[in-house]
Amino acid sequence: MKCILTAIFAIVAGISLQSASAQEQESAKPKTTLEAVKARGALSCGVTQGLPGFSAPDDKGNWTGLDVDICRAIAAVVFNDPTKVKFVPLSAKDRFIALQSGEIDVLSRDTSWTLSRDTSLGANFTGVTYYDGQGFLIRKSLKVNSALELNSASVCVQTGTTNEQNLADYFKSNKMKYEVIAFSTADETIKAYESGRCDVFTSDISQLYAQRLKLLNPADHAVLPEVISKEPHATMVRHGDDQWFDLVKWTLFAMINAEELGITKKNVDEMARSENPELKRIFGTDGNFGEQLGVTKDWVSRIIKAVGNYGESFDRNVGAGSPLGIARGLNKLWNQGGIMYAPPIR
């Protein structure tokens, strides 16, 4: 009898403890993502497992890349310190689970914006960081000049991407047969391609250029001219926190607007003293736009000091100033022939 009593006592104690912690949770529930990030002292940011130019650790272990710069810019806005970011490397198929479960605050991992992802994942896209499209990488020795000559080819693709469906659609609509071999990580995919298991490697074109650098003789491989899909790479946040959604969205917009207005890492202090009304609004000397976002007035200069404007980040990571050497193309500003466009800060 004694043991029953002890057991019951223990359970009652457990239940009351549980309800106490539930109450605690209740009071802590309205805590926003911004508050959680501040309390943690670091932004938790989901990135790739290593894609040169977009998110990859350098030889000293520092993460660099275009997608990484978005995370650093957000950290700069929140902490005034771009190093306060915890990078979480994720495979293509794990990325959404990490965001849904709250393991990361932001997903900045060359993720294509599609309707089904926007509606069914419990997350929102904040803005396009890079306009890309899917293409094919092939050995020059096969003497193929167009993707339309790929009938009966074996194609290596990374699973968990939009690429698998695009590939199926493209071959079907052009009445071509193919064999697909799908791998779980980009590294395995490129290794299988290198070993000759496939004739072609398909992925977003930016990724093809980045992965080509990993091959033994990059010059032996060429990217075919066809672009078979639209792949707008965008940053993602969880549903349910509109303030955080706005903050992440406007961090990118600030970088694009800064390029448009000619604000660079070098001249940012000088520009901040300008009497130009548009610049005054951006730098917070006029109006309270930063405070409306829930951060400080100098949020834009924090971003630019940390990572530079969009154009600077692009050139440094994937453009002319990087080993990838990808042309700006679609990613030029709207007034320079591209489609990169940000709503105004006003």
Binding site: M1, C3, I4, A7, I8, I11, A92, K93, F96, I97, Q100, S116, R117, T119, S120, L121, G122, A123, L142, L150, N151, S152, A153, S154, C156, T159, G160, T161, E164, Q165, L167, A168, D169, K172, K177, Y178, E179, V180, I181, A182, F183, S184, T185, E188, K191, A192, S195, G196, R197, D199, R238, H239, G240
Partner: protein, 401 residues
């Protein structure tokens, strides 16, 4: 009072109390009820919490996605599949691929495992050392590493399709796999299959007849020439009467790949080799332990009867060892099936890769898909261990233990 006096049978309530509460009586029963209640409550909390979170995030849920169009291709489909089929079909394709590689793996792992075990116990110094070395090497290297080794190292050594190694212009080996002629059924194929089945049944009848005569008269009838005759004559007769049962479709190099014929993809071969050699190392040790658990007097008794070493092992030692071998052997079969999910690293389209991989990332419905996948692996494992426990009961009965 030499026999002592017998206890009266327990009364119903007492018996119930024993069954439900064990030694502790009603108190034990109360504890058990409480324990179940706590487990149920924890389970309920988990489900309710997950459901609440999904609703709060506005995430899609339910199994409606299973009838949506998949829209991607799979490299090995043993049941008809095209990209316009539904996710349910993808699930079945993946399941079949998992079952096939597991069945092939289990078959070869058992074969290799028994051979290596017997080799290790062999009096031949060289054979026993080689077998021992095999076990130590294979079981001490990580499985994923071995899969990648067989896949990437072997693939790299094979030529591209244009320079493939060919046998009689019908079989081609290249880094796209092994292309072989595919039999295509003709009119006579059903009669041919029936003829083979009849021949096999006839052979089994002959064998049981010879065993019965061995037990009755002590003389074994030699029946194998008749059985062989049946196996050749019946199908030949069917071919003569009904025409050729099938023709072969030859693989032909067209464009980048072989078209026509059947093809064994390298991913399947690499996975089957790795799973069978890796599991075989463990099975070898289990079999060796089982054989050593049989008293060595049995071996000596066999030798005293004039039986050869092979016959002694086959007829006397292994049947007794099976009782010890079977339970851990079942574990290895289950491990092999579950390890097949590592195929995701080399692109073999099994259940985990196409369903918990591609389908998951296309639909984003992690909870549903992962629960289904876990349920299926659980079911496969339970069925396997069910079959093994039926077999082990039969073994126990035939040994008379």
């Amino acid at each position: 009072m030499a026999t002592g006096f017998r206890k009266p049978p327990l009364q119903f309530s007492l018996r119930l109390r024993r069954a439900l509460g064990g030694q502790a009586g009603w108190g034990g029963l109360a504890l058990q009820v409480l324990f179940v209640a706590i487990l149920a409550w924890i389970g309920y909390e988990i489900v309710a919490n997950a459901k609440g979170n999904l609703e709060a995030q506005n995430t899609a849920s339910g199994l409606g996605f299973m009838s949506n169009t998949a829209g991607f291709e799979v490299s090995q489909t043993l049941i008809p599949y095209s990209q316009t089929d539904s996710y349910t079909r993808v699930f079945l394709v993946g399941l079949v691929n998992t079952l096939v590689v597991a069945a092939v793996g289990i078959f070869f792992a058992t074969m290799i495992g028994f051979m290596v075990a017997l080799g290790r116990l062999s009096p031949n110094w060289l054979i026993s050392r080689i077998s021992g070395g095999y076990v130590e090497l294979v079981r001490n290297l990580p499985l994923l590493f071995q899969i990648l080794f067989w896949y990437l190292a072997v693939l790299r050594m094979l030529p591209n399709p244009k320079q493939s190694v060919s046998v009689l212009d019908g079989i081609f080996l290249s880094n796209r796999g092994l292309a072989i002629p595919k039999p295509i059924g003709q009119e006579g194929s059903i009669a041919f299959a029936v003829a083979i089945a009849v021949a096999i049944i006839g052979g089994m009848v002959l064998r049981s007849h010879s065993r019965r005569s061995l037990f009755r008269t002590g003389r074994a009838l030699i029946v194998w020439p008749y059985a062989l005759g049946l196996l050749i004559a019946l199908p030949a007769a069917s071919m003569a009467v009904f025409g050729t049962p099938f023709t072969f479709e030859m693989p032909i190099l067209k464009g980048f790949n072989f078209s026509g014929g059947a093809r064994l993809i390298p991913e399947f071969v690499a996975l089957a080799i790795t799973l069978s050699t890796y599991t075989a190392a463990f099975i070898a040790e289990i079999v060796r332990a089982g054989i050593l658990s049989v008293h060595k007097g049995q071996m000596e008794a066999g030798a005293a009867l004039g039986l050869s070493r092979g016959s002694t092992l086959r007829l006397i030692v292994v049947p007794q060892a099976m009782r010890v071998i079977l339970p851990p052997l079942t574990n290895q079969y289950l491990n092999l099936t579950k390890n097949s999910s590592l195929a995701v690293a080399i692109g073999y389209p099994e259940l985990f890769s196409v369903f918990a991989g591609t389908t998951l990332s296309q639909t984003g419905q992690a909870i549903e898909i992962l629960s289904i996948t876990m349920g299926v692996y659980l079911l496969i494992s339970l069925v396997t261990s069910g079959i093994m426990s039926i077999y082990s009961r039969r073994v126990a009965r035939s040994v008379g233990a």
